[in-house]
């Protein structure tokens, strides 16, 4: 089956900064794909390129086997995808019902019925003007609009922002349902715990580069957190064997924490035998720890990773091993 999204060597430069630096990515159909990254990592830029709002500086990008940078393709893509931007701007003078009626003109039959069902599910008053809705209610309207034409691919930029916990949970569960019907969900989010609950695949973007890409459950299994207690904070530790990939290192006084991909036990055993090491503890890494490690960890490893290719390729190798 063809990838729903296929990105190769994507670069995006703005005046004064590089938003994306050679990103490779592929999204399989029927998956919930989460793009994680801190503010300014380049998530929204990537989504804007995917939806045809922005033309990349370099690289290729295909969505549903079409090129979003081409004008004619971008319209077809928008017919088949549902997109919610990070801060959806709706016509605030329209009512909830009117905006659904208005948007239905752009899609095939059935939009209105699905939209009505959605707003009823979210308990949105159809005769209330959008300007009189709360922030969360507006987000629900935007989501309802994005879902109402039953899209093959949902592209959601921070979709749960502003939603209350209950609705957030309902929404994320509905994403699993969407994926179960063979549709694909591509979302960016800060809500790591929630993403952890629904995502099949994750990608962590940091300063325009993908730091980590892979199947979430496999990543969680292959990555461990090794905490080394030193007798002297000035003691330097050698790198473990080649089968253990250190993704990040966090120094806290006499403690060093390593995020290790593959061979965590071997690495722990290796450091235990080094001089100046008081004790070594190993535990499975959470997604949040992974995220922190990839975005806040020692930059020398990130640099090393970028030298060795890109993160996608690295993770694929890790998975194969």
């Amino acid at each position: 089956m063809n990838d729903v999204i296929k990105i190769e060597g994507l670069e995006m430069r703005f005046r004064g900064c590089e938003a994306l630096r050679g990103v490779d990515l592929s999204v399989q159909p029927g998956t919930v794909y989460a793009l994680l990254g801190e503010n300014g990592a380049g998530k929204t830029t990537m989504i804007r390129i995917l939806t045809g709002f922005q033309k990349p500086t370099a690289g290729t990008c295909r969505v549903l086997d079409m090129d979003p940078s081409k004008k004619e393709d971008s319209l077809k893509i928008r017919q088949r995808i549902g997109y919610v931007s990070d801060s959806p701007a709706l016509y605030d003078w329209m009512t909830v019902g009117e905006i659904g009626w208005f948007a239905s003109s752009f899609f095939a039959e059935g939009f209105v019925d699905r939209y009505r069902a959605s707003i009823e599910q979210y308990e949105l008053p159809s005769d209330r003007k959008i300007k009189n809705l709360s922030k969360g209610q507006r987000s629900k309207v935007a989501l309802s609009l994005a879902l109402a034409h039953d899209p093959e691919l949902l592209v959601l930029d921070e979709p749960t922002s502003g939603l209350d916990p209950l609705v957030r949970r309902e929404f994320l569960e509905s994403m699993i349902t969407v994926a179960a019907t063979g549709r694909t969900v591509f979302l960016s989010s800060h809500q790591i715990a929630e993403v952890e609950r629904v995502a099949d695949q994750i990608a962590i973007l940091h300063k325009g580069r993908l730091q980590l890409v892979g199947n979430l459950s496999e990543l969680k299994e292959s990555i461990s957190m090794v905490t080394v207690s030193l007798t002297d904070p000035l003691v330097s530790l050698p790198d473990p064997s080649a089968s253990s990939k250190i993704l990040a290192e966090i120094n806290e006084g006499r403690q060093k924490q390593f995020v290790v991909q593959g061979g965590g036990d071997e690495a722990a055993e290796f450091w235990k035998n080094c001089t100046g090491v008081a004790s070594v503890r190993i535990q499975p890494a959470t997604l949040e720890e992974l995220f922190v490690a990839c975005t806040r960890g020692d930059s020398k490893y990130a640099h090393r990773k970028s030298e060795s290719g890109n993160a996608g390729r690295l993770s694929m190798e890790a998975q194969r091993s």
């Binding site: 709002f53 003109s105 899609f107």
Partner: protein, 828 residues
Amino acid sequence: MSRPTIVKALVWKEFRQIAPLFWAVLGLGGGLNLLMIMLLLLASPGGSGVISPYSFIVMPIIFATGVGVLLVSVEKENRTLQWLQGMPVSSAQIAKTKLMVAVVSLIATWALSLLMLWLFRIVFQGQTGITKPELDSLSESYFYPILFPTVSFFLGFAGLALAWRVSSPIYALLLLVPVTGFVWIITELFKFSSRPLFAETLDSSSGGWGISVASWAVGMVAAAVYGWLASQRDLAARTASAPWLSLLGESTKSTVAPPQWWRWESVPQNSALLWQSARQNWLPWSMLTIVFFVGVWMCGVIPQIGGYNDDLSLRDFDRYASTLLALLLGTYMGWFLGSLVFQENNVANRIRFFADRGVSPTRVWISRHWIPLVILLVATSWRSIASRSFAYWEGFDSQVILADSICFFLAALGIYALCQWWSQCIPSPLLSAITSPLIAGIFIAYGLFALLMFEAPIWLLGVSLTLLGVATWSQMKAWMDRAFDWRFFGGHAAWLLMAMVIPLLPGIWTMLNTRGMDPNIRTALETTWKEGSESDDSKLGSRMHLIQRNFSESQTIDKVQKRFENNEEIRAEYLRYLQSDEDRAVLLGLRSSDLVRFCLAELSRSQSEVASDASDVRVATYRSIVNGIYELIRQFRLTGSLMAQDHSEILEIALLRECKATSAREWLGDDLLRKIVVFLADSDSRDKARKYKLSRAWKTQAQYQRANWFTDWGYDFGGYSLPFTTKIPSFPGMLRKSCERDELAAKLWKLINSTFPNEVTALRKEIDPTGRIDQVSDWFEATAYINTRDTLYSYPGSHWRGNWETEAKALLLTLDSNPSTSNDRGGR
């Protein structure tokens, strides 16, 4: 809910978006026109051509100015256009729909404006269709009627193009004015330069208008094409930065070094606020200033091109047009500076930044106004310098230029005050900016209304405008908190009400303090009028009231006599009427003043003839003339106006003089003499006639004024046209005038009823208790001094309670004490 087509949904959305502007323009424009029509109708009652189509053209022009910007810029600023782009709809479809809606709505505005004009003409003038002068002006050039629609479509398309090109709605609107001005100047220069070309082949007027229409049409097409290209570029996907940027090293910088000013020490709050205001608005302020400076410079330079040579001078663009243009530029500055004061901070709730940090609203308010006011002062200085430097103020000295500069500043400041107030009242920045000119127009019309109808001193309008400044200050906290609730709008409404009422206060005060008539006198006048109305002869009175001036010292009897002698036939005819009992009534058809002059002239001549040679024929003629005058006086008492009554009293005085003559008994005969003296001494009958004439004059004038409140300012009081202190048709003026009339009637009534033996004591008691009248002569007595001393001869009751009345009674007593012999009864 059935699924609409894309076109239908987009058109529905666009029309809903422009609906506020559409209704605001029609509502405010209609209101403005209604106000101006009412004002003009009040000021110029019954005037034809009051409702000008030009004032209705304002509505589509204003709408055209805003429609493009509203359709595009607002969507860009609210980012709804971005949402729409996320839908599967092509950029061409979006742009086409906006263009189509702009055209259709503009046509609809034109149609409704013209419909409004048609309805207003029917309602206020009872006129349908086009007037003759308009038809004549249209026949002068076939191009003229399509000029304004062409200009409006240019404005609409140019507005759309600028809105696609520029991100901020205010900037787009701001740029529209110089762009339009540029096209206008090009048009005028083209017209000027091609004048010799079409002068030989075409009618110059038609040719000129044709070139104007063609130029604007070219501009319109260019704007539409450019707008289309700009829209497609704007709606297309954003392109990546140019690859060469990476060569410069810019794109590889992931972090930027902190700028130098980060190391500055903290600045005072006022400086920070001023810096923020300047930084935020420097572009529009700079644009405004540049446009103004260039415009004023051109106003100075263009009139000098070619001097006053017929071939080269731009005579159509003389110094008056330059002055007007400079004033328009000042208005433009005031408009945008005022609109930007609050709305630039309103965009994206920027003002919340200050509100969240507890910055004093007063401090923010002052910092918003500080720089715009400085800009206005700088602009005024430039206007003054330009006026002096370019020397197009031919014949004007430095004082005039100073006055011009002050007027310019105050006008711009007034517009600024209005627009800054309006920009705070309307939460939508664009709607407030677009409709500001209409609000300014409404205030100007209201100001004229206050000036003309309530006699407001002009400085009070300044107070009103200042109050609008105070209004924005008082509502500043609510505005900063974005608390657009009933308190906010109610507060603004209250300040507006205060600003509108203040100019009316002096007029209202005058009206409240205008004393009414003594109720007893009013009742007496009413009663007298009702009692006498049964024998009313208004026909005669109406013919009598035409007199402008009464008999006066300057018109001596000799001169009058000479006038009649110059036409002996007429004189002989009139004399025959006077002497004949059957035909005497014919003389009542003359103007009473002419009749008095004629009678006095004939009496004088006849008496002179008798005095020189008292032959029987001459005595008989003399007697017949005296008797004729006596009969005329009797008829005057029964009928005629107040003025005719006064004129008859002049004849009574003349008869008394004749009766007092030493030879009167000889020339008149005892019977005639006694009959006349008894008549003259009967002051009760005379007073009754006076009272009735006075009451009728008072009542008729009151009725007329009530029925024609604003239509006639002639003041017909029993045939007298009296000068009053009020010269303009204002509400207090009308009331004051009524009171002056009542006061005059009351004083005259008191004079008739005074029991004082002579006019001096009566005058002192009833008319002039303060003693301001220095001297009272026999000729100009009593009421002649009411209200003004300048027109002594044209006031009613000039001879009432005069010495002659006492003399008549004394003469009767003399006659009674010296009865004549039976031989003398028939005289000679």
